[in-house]
Subunit: 336 residues, 2 copies
């Protein structure tokens, strides 16, 4: 029953480094055979130097993806380089050409078919030609606001609509996330950030599309809104202070319609000082389903888990470009 996978880590920013720690902690199940990153500060160093470990691992960070992939021939690449597919899909093609399955944190890859139809076709073809599978996963998108909702409907004969609420206490998360949601900035600063089009959560539309596709539903219009959550009190986190009346975080919400009918409501709040953090799926159906993860899913560690737990999933999947709705239900891997 025990299987061991040869794995390459591609990208060692904060998430990639967390993946490395988890990979090394599961040495009975995963062999780390290579690490790829373009940062000149990291290339040439042993993984232990990057992570601050005492003993060298013998695995040296390389900037030459082609060389790593061809010399190590990994079963699976854990890919954490970008949120955006357009910037780096050639990295995924490269992995496929070397016969490596890929599990990736790229948010746009979680449901690539709408934003990137041509790239989706190309990735699917490359995967099939090389007998591998490519999967984009994560907590959100990839689990909390899509896969979990689909799973909730599995016991329903009828589903009329679904409401998904995710509320995250950003105060418990790492600094980059607190900054990402604008904690502590003014409303004017929030408006300016929003105007760049590069602010807010990435993946809400992807989750809407995935749930709809999983249910075989037509969605012909998606409305997406991004508003600030204004703090009603002063909140102090280990990293920053949010004053009363300033921005505590984001309220990002999306609505999927078929004609005039509202079928899917995805409501995401990530802010400092959230008092009822949770992941909730409410299915208006027969029977109805009222599913809650109390306290919510802790994103920092859970994101890493979805990637590492995706290793056997992509290895076992039939070849092609996959989403989390296509593969067997994700479960923990290598925990004993």
């Amino acid at each position: 029953m025990a299987r061991t996978f040869n794995v390459v880590q591609f990208g060692i920013g904060p998430i990639g480094q967390s993946c490395l720690r988890t990979i090394l902690s599961k040495a009975d199940h995963i062999n780390l055979v290579g690490v790829i990153d373009i940062d000149p500060e990291k290339v040439g160093k042993d993984v232990s130097d990057i992570l601050g470990l005492e003993s060298p691992t013998g695995v040296i960070v390389s900037g030459d993806a082609e060389a790593v992939l061809s010399s190590t021939k990994p079963d699976v690449v854990v890919h954490t380089t970008s949120s955006f597919l357009g910037r780096m899909y050639d990295q995924l093609i490269l992995c496929a050409r070397h016969g490596a399955n890929v599990v990736s944190s790229t948010e746009e890859l979680s449901w690539p078919y709408e934003r990137h139809p041509e790239i989706s076709v190309e990735l699917d073809r490359a995967a099939k030609e090389n007998g591998v599978s490519i999967l984009g996963t994560g907590v959100n998108p990839g689990y909390a606001m899509d896969a979990l909702a689909l799973m909730a409907t599995g016991v329903c004969n009828e589903v009329r609509s679904i409401t998904i609420n995710r509320e995250v206490d950003a105060g418990l998360r790492r600094l980059p996330l607190q900054q990402k949601v604008g904690a502590g900035i003014t409303e004017a600063e929030f408006a300016a950030k929003k105007a760049t089009g590069m602010f807010g959560h990435i993946g809400l539309v992807e989750s809407v599309r995935m749930v709809a596709a999983g249910l075989g539903w037509n969605i012909d219009r998606i409305e997406e809104h991004l508003d600030p959550v204004i703090s009603k009190k002063e909140v102090v986190t280990p990293f920053l202070t949010v004053k009363e009346g300033s921005v505590a975080g984001i309220h990002h919400h999306a609505y999927g319609y078929d004609g005039d009918e509202l079928l899917l409501t995805l409501d995401l709040k990530m802010f400092v000082g959230a008092e009822d953090p949770r992941d909730a799926v409410l299915v208006d159906g027969d029977p109805p389903m009222d599913l809650v993860v109390r306290g919510g899913i802790f994103g920092d560690t859970a994101t890493v888990a979805t990637l590492i737990n995706g290793i056997p999933q992509v290895f076992d999947a039939t070849p092609g470009l996959k989403t989390v709705k296509d593969v067997p239900l994700v479960r923990a891997f290598g925990t004993r």
Copy 2:
């Protein structure tokens, strides 16, 4: 995207009849092409007579499974004839030989490998030889106390143990379930029923095995206990009355150990008058997961849903004997 499956219903007891109703309600997605049952009271009748519908469906109940399967060549058979695999696995083989995928409510089929290793091998071989898949599913086993727990661990890097609680208010369920859990009988009657070995919930051990296998965990000992829930008050249901001090239902619990280590706790209470019906999965892990279906999953209708929602699952699966851990995560099918 829309697909239509030709389906035969095999077995039309109470669950099978509910399946028929759901199948007929999803006529855009499912063609009912045949119905098999051995009951002489049902054979020869139009499905509409069985269900009390106004217009004939044109589908006549047949007692000749071979004739129905060979003449209708269904994509999928929805199979609801028995809880026990040993009694009827030849029915599954017959379906496979006719090129039909099978989704079955047979509890023992949800995880057949321990109780019926030879039959499991035979079913897997028959399925593969004929290019079809066979899946045992349902709410419990099949979802509430196994698949949902596995899904909950999907965001965990570490899992130390899992506790699964299902509490069902039998007072809201149909009479056969209230009788099945012994509502209204005395403790002595409960003891006598228990002594037959044919009382209690079927499938708890199957769920323990499936969760363990899904996580790659070794379980070398399973403890199983069946106790009465004694009513602390008089409870009146539409069907019967439970007096204070008499049996309200069952408390069936199972524990999976690796050596001395308790890894899995499955605690099922089904009784009249339950005040906090719910399905809960508590994962002691990193991150921890505290997942609850508030109000619980309503078994009478949900069981039918898992079977009907399993139709595309078994159709799309690679050939062989499958369990719910092997197929893409279940989601509602044919709801619009």
